[in-house]
């Protein structure tokens, strides 16, 4: 049996411990979970700071200026620095220049691209020919539901998009024929919400399986069986905390 590197063994113990601390929340909210939760926030923020520093400061600012002499990059740096004037009450108004620049640029970039990609393109894909010409005198209508590009599905998509848009259109009263269209929209929305829910649950299940797979792997003797020992330790700690909680009523502290 090949011996594992030291950092992998320590890593297995740390990963198992942290996984079990988070899982302890399934019993109830407890100090072990809170500890892991705060550590998670701290490590994540630290990670984002380092990555942003590396991507933005090092690769987008320092290297291009030092290696290629791109001094124009000092302009966005200055704009960024203006944001920090928020901390100086008398100069806080200067941060508006930075926000005005970002928001203005964002809005300007968004208008044509949103219209093109998210409105016109979506409308174009929704309003498709309902029949295909396959020969000089023949028209076909494909009914294959499993093919999203079939004519039957094109009609269903058109119906779904129109009815959902109508449901969110409040300028006219949803009565008579409008009520039927709006109710069709609700039906489509409910199916979509259900599908979204099912999809999310399965994604979470996949994560859960991943964590359980790791726990099973780390119960191996080559790692020193951290899953077994740390599970016992976590259960013992929860038991002690529960006993201490019973001994000290909530209003005692």
């Amino acid at each position: 049996m090949t011996e594992l590197p030291f950092e992998s063994i320590v890593g297995a113990w740390v990963a198992t411990g942290l996984t079990l601390l988070i899982f302890s929340f399934l019993y109830k909210d407890n100090p072990l979970f809170k500890l892991a939760e705060h550590l998670y926030v701290g490590v994540s923020v630290g990670y984002v700071i380092v990555k942003t520093y590396d991507t933005v400061i090092v690769h987008l600012v320092v290297k291009p200026i030092v290696e290629n002499g791109e001094f124009a990059l000092l302009i966005p740096v200055a704009i960024g620095m203006l944001m920090l004037t928020r901390y100086v009450p008398k100069a806080a108004w200067m941060s508006r220049y930075a926000f005005a620049f970002i928001v203005g640029m964002g809005a300007g970039l968004a208008i044509p691209r949103t219209v093109s990609s998210f409105i016109l393109k979506q409308v174009e894909d929704t309003i498709r020919p309902l029949l295909s010409v396959t020969g000089p005198d023949s028209l076909t209508f494909s009914m294959n539901l499993l093919n999203p590009a079939s004519h039957l599905n094109a009609i269903i998509i058109l119906l779904g998009v129109s009815s959902v848009l109508f449901y969110f259109f409040f300028s006219i009263e949803h009565s008579g024929a409008g009520k039927a269209v709006a109710r069709t929209g609700i039906l489509f929305l409910m199916i979509s919400f259900g599908a979204g829910f099912g999809y999310t649950v399965m994604a979470r299940m996949s994560l859960l399986i991943g964590r359980l797979t790791d726990l099973i792997e780390f119960s191996d003797a080559s790692y020193g069986r951290p899953t077994v020992w740390l599970s016992l330790l976590t259960i013992g700690a929860l038991f002690l905390l529960a006993r201490r909680g019973r001994a000290q009523p909530p209003d005692a502290h």
Partner: protein
């Protein structure tokens, strides 16, 4: 002074907004170059925006530790985790691995961040399931439709589900690719129309909340 504090920011928004909206319709290399530079500029300015957010978190927990408020020990753990990761990350030049060898920063990512993040989201599976049990009872026709769609999609995503309900895989794909995409498309069109309207309001100074309140 009112010009510098109030009107100049609005003017900057108007000019940058119109300039970058117009850029889309100018297929010239110079215009493309301007877009590339602008995207880089946005990333740089966005990096400074992160400082604003992180400082707020720093401050909130620093106050908790200084005043030794309830749970201040957790704030200390947060600080230790954050500063430790920053120190190790800077030491490793922000690289998780160098020439195939894992750095200390990579170790933190693989053995701390990934398990913490994965488990945090994985436990949501239990809470979603319990919430579903309480709220998904088919009390109305709409709730029943939602329940059936959810069950079919869940069944269709796993081999066991397909084994139990052989058609669930195909029906699940149809629900996701046809019914679900039609709803997503409608919502996308609606949201986009709203976003375009808001962008126009921002550019022409009708919407000014991004400038913040306070004195003129």
């Amino acid at each position: 002074m009112i010009f510098l504090r109030r009107q100049l920011p609005l003017l900057i928004t108007l000019v940058t907004g119109l300039l970058f909206a117009a850029q889309y319709y100018v297929p010239h290399p110079a215009s493309e170059q301007m877009l590339t530079s602008a995207t880089k500029w946005l990333q740089i300015v966005g990096g400074f925006a992160l400082i604003l957010g992180v400082t707020s978190l720093f401050h909130q927990h620093a106050v908790k530790i200084r005043r030794q408020e309830a749970g201040w020990g957790y704030s200390l753990v947060l600080y230790v985790g954050m500063l430790g990761t920053i120190a190790v990350g800077l030491w490793a030049n922000g690289k998780e691995s160098v020439e195939g060898t894992m750095t200390a920063f990579g170790w933190i990512y693989n053995y701390m961040m990934v398990p913490l993040q994965g488990t945090m989201f994985a436990i949501l599976a239990f809470f979603i399931a319990s919430a579903a049990y309480r709220s998904f009872r088919a009390k109305s026709r709409e709730a029943a439709v939602l329940l059936v769609a959810a069950v079919i999609v869940m069944m269709g995503r796993v081999p066991l589900g397909e084994y139990l309900i052989p058609l669930s895989g195909d029906v699940s794909s149809w629900i996701l690719n046809v019914l679900n995409s039609s709803v997503r498309r409608a919502i996308l069109i609606g949201v986009s129309l709203g976003a375009v309207a808001l962008s126009f309001k921002i550019i022409f100074g009708v919407e000014r909340s991004y400038l913040g309140g306070g004195k003129e």
